[in-house]
């Protein structure tokens, strides 16, 4: 019996993706993991050094700080962006006058590069230049808003700028989700006598779960890759109090010319992410195959 011929065109269409996955992703991961076991400095060399880079890495306070910062930043930024974006979307969904105008205003920061975002916020937050200075100029001589120069608070400035940047995207996703909700549900709840905010909390939020997940995925991509913003906004300082892993990797990779340690850090980051993501990715995308034909 004749067999169904293989559809080569399908594979041809997937070739770019396959090549990229194999060479750019998997190849890079293998290379990165490999180098992390050498004592490469400015240029990669194949001198095996065991786990020495990892030992050093976890003895480095800056690395631990940057991991801690990533967690703080990630949790706060995602939580605040989701909350703010959701609230904005809900507000915009109330048949508001100038909806299009407001939506654009909320969304536009997402078009700005992190470099620009960092630059502007650095000015605004700079106590000798921005808000603190201005408010003092109004006569409140003791007003203080100097988070950016305080070690304990600098990371929150990064959160602030990142929320400014990303809340609009969350708003767009949430608004899209809200627009897809059956309007009859709203009517049903009014007949049930449910207060609007309770309706949103108990009914709408659960329905928007997929939107929340999409937004979280997109935001967390930004968390892992957070670099430019920190660089421009705080330079990782004061001290290295607002350092983040990507900047740590970048610094050791180039400025400090210690590729070995940098790749060890990258590998650690990767393994952490892998452990955190795999179960979730599996649950979200693969367990329930969505399409039927």
């Amino acid at each position: 019996m004749k067999q169904r011929p293989i559809r080569w065109s399908v594979y041809a269409g997937l070739t770019p993706a396959i090549l990229i996955v194999v060479f750019a992703y998997i190849g890079t991961i293998i290379w990165t993991v490999g180098i992390s076991f050498t004592d490469s400095r400015m240029l990669p060399v194949a001198r095996f050094a065991g786990f020495s880079q990892y030992v050093r890495l976890f003895g480095t306070e800056r690395w631990l700080t940057s991991i801690q910062n990533m967690v703080i930043f990630g949790v706060l930024m995602i939580a605040i962006s989701l909350a703010l974006g959701f609230l904005l979307a809900v507000a915009l969904d109330q048949r508001i006058r100038a909806e299009g105008f407001l939506r654009t205003i909320i969304l536009y920061p997402y078009a700005m590069s992190f470099i620009v975002t960092g630059l502007v916020w650095q000015w605004i937050l700079n106590p000798t230049l921005g808000i603190e200075q201005t408010v003092r100029g109004w006569g409140f001589e003791n007003f203080r808003f100097d988070w950016i120069i305080r070690k304990e608070t600098a990371i929150y400035c990064v959160v602030l700028a990142a929320v400014w940047h990303a809340a609009g995207l969350v708003m767009a996703i949430m608004l899209a989700g809200l627009r897809g909700i059956d309007p009859d549900l709203w009517k049903a709840s009014r007949i049930d006598g449910v207060k609007p905010w309770r309706f949103y909390w108990h009914i709408v939020v659960p329905i928007l779960r997929p939107s929340f997940i999409s937004a979280t995925v997109l935001l967390s991509l930004g968390v892992v890759k957070l670099y430019d913003l920190v660089l421009v906004l705080t330079g990782g300082g004061p001290g290295f109090s607002s350092d983040v892993p990507a900047k740590f990797v970048m610094d050791y990779l180039f400025q400090r010319q210690n590729i070995g340690l940098a790749t060890a850090a990258a590998t650690t980051l990767l393994i952490t992410l892998l452990c955190a993501l795999t179960p979730w990715l599996y649950a979200e995308y693969f367990r329930a195959e969505k399409r039927k034909d």
Binding site: D184, K187, A188, S189, I191, D192
Partner: protein, 361 residues
């Protein structure tokens, strides 16, 4: 068990007047069906009764109270939507109790009411399921249950069956009817499906372009439609419309068709005066013509059929009569000749006549 009374209701969306000075009285315990084509304002009227719309003018009274400006949940109504609008991600029990919980009712009372509603609607085994795991019929029951737990005296239905397939529709129709018997509550049911309207209603209000055309029992609507719109909208296959002229004669009145054939109208009961040579349209339902003459079916006409559709108990014939499309319903045990001119016999006493404006003669 409250009456609903709508007086001089007017509703508009921007410049569009959807309802203008509409009056409607629904009696206690009545099952009223709002029937009409898409976009005629049925949902708008229902939403106004429920308090989900702002009213431009007019009043709404439920159970003797003027509720024109009351909040929806204060009106003693329950509503079942086309999509059922069950709260997703809440269990059946959660759906039933959600409104009560939010209004701060004591737990024991909630539990009592939920179990009572679940008993009436036979939802007990399903209480822990989520809406997505329910069949269409079960969903509808939950949606009704949501009204029951709130002790609603008036139930509003907005096309609750139109998303379902034919079989389920038939079943649920019967179920709603049974429920109406059991609960005795006032029900207002919106649909654009005339089978639903005919089978369910105590009275039907046929709507068109925001105006109630006829408000009467199903039988009357079917047999004595007040105008051509109602006649054409109710009944499937549609009523056949044959244009012609009224001719007064010595012996009485007859109706002359486009092909020159005439039918004696003696058996027809005119409701209004008419004049000789007036143009009119004869409306004949498919079952008001038969292949064989009988006591009632006496007026002979000639039709040519091209298609025969067997529908189980009866058969539909499709063809032409006096240059118009014509359909006829016969019993399955009869046989028609397809393609050749055929004599048919019409029950003129039950037919309808309409003047040029479309109103019943």
């Amino acid at each position: 068990m409250s009456s609903v009374s709508i007086r001089n209701l007017q509703i508009s969306f921007g410049v569009l007047n959807v309802l203008e000075t509409l009056d409607l009285e629904v009696e206690e315990g009545e099952f009223l069906v709002l029937l009409g084509p898409s976009g005629c304002g049925k949902s708008t009227l229902l939403n106004a009764i429920a308090g989900l719309l702002d009213i431009a003018e007019g009043q709404i009274w439920i159970g003797g109270r003027n509720v024109t400006w009351s909040e929806p949940h204060e009106r003693g109504i329950g509503m079942v939507f086309q999509s059922y609008a069950l709260y997703p991600r809440l269990t059946v029990e959660g759906n039933l109790s959600f409104g009560l919980k939010m209004s701060g009712m004591p737990k024991a009372e909630i539990a009592r009411r939920v179990s009572e509603a679940a008993r009436i609607l036979q939802l007990e085994p399903l209480l822990q399921r989520q809406p997505a795991q329910l069949s269409g019929g079960q969903r509808q029951r939950v949606a009704i249950g949501r009204a029951l737990v709130r002790d609603a005296k008036v139930l509003l239905f907005d096309e609750p069956l139109s998303n379902l397939d034919a079989k389920l529709r038939t079943e649920l129709r019967v179920e709603i009817k049974r429920l109406h018997k059991r609960l005795g509550s006032t029900m207002i049911f919106v649909t654009h499906d005339q089978v639903e309207a005919l089978t369910l209603a105590d009275r039907i209000a046929v709507m068109h372009k925001g105006v109630i055309q006829q408000l009467a029992t199903p039988k009357e609507i079917y047999q004595r439609p007040v105008n051509r719109f109602v006649a054409g909208f109710v009944g499937s296959p549609q009523m056949n419309f044959l244009p012609g002229t009224l001719v007064r004669k010595d012996a009485g009145t007859s109706f002359r068709l486009a092909d020159g054939s005439e039918i004696d109208l003696t058996a027809y009961e005119f409701s209004r005066p008419f004049h000789d040579r007036q143009e009119a349209t004869l409306g004949l339902r498919p079952e008001q013509a038969q292949l064989r003459p009988s006591e009632q079916h006496s007026a002979r006409l000639e039709a040519t059929f091209t298609i025969e559709e067997s529908m189980g108990p009866d058969t539909l014939l499709w063809g032409m009569l006096a240059g118009e499309n014509f359909s006829m319903r016969i019993s399955s045990d009869q046989a028609a000749s397809i393609g050749a001119p055929t004599d048919i016999y019409v029950n003129i006493a039950q037919a309808s006549l309409f003047d040029e404006a479309g109103d019943r003669l």
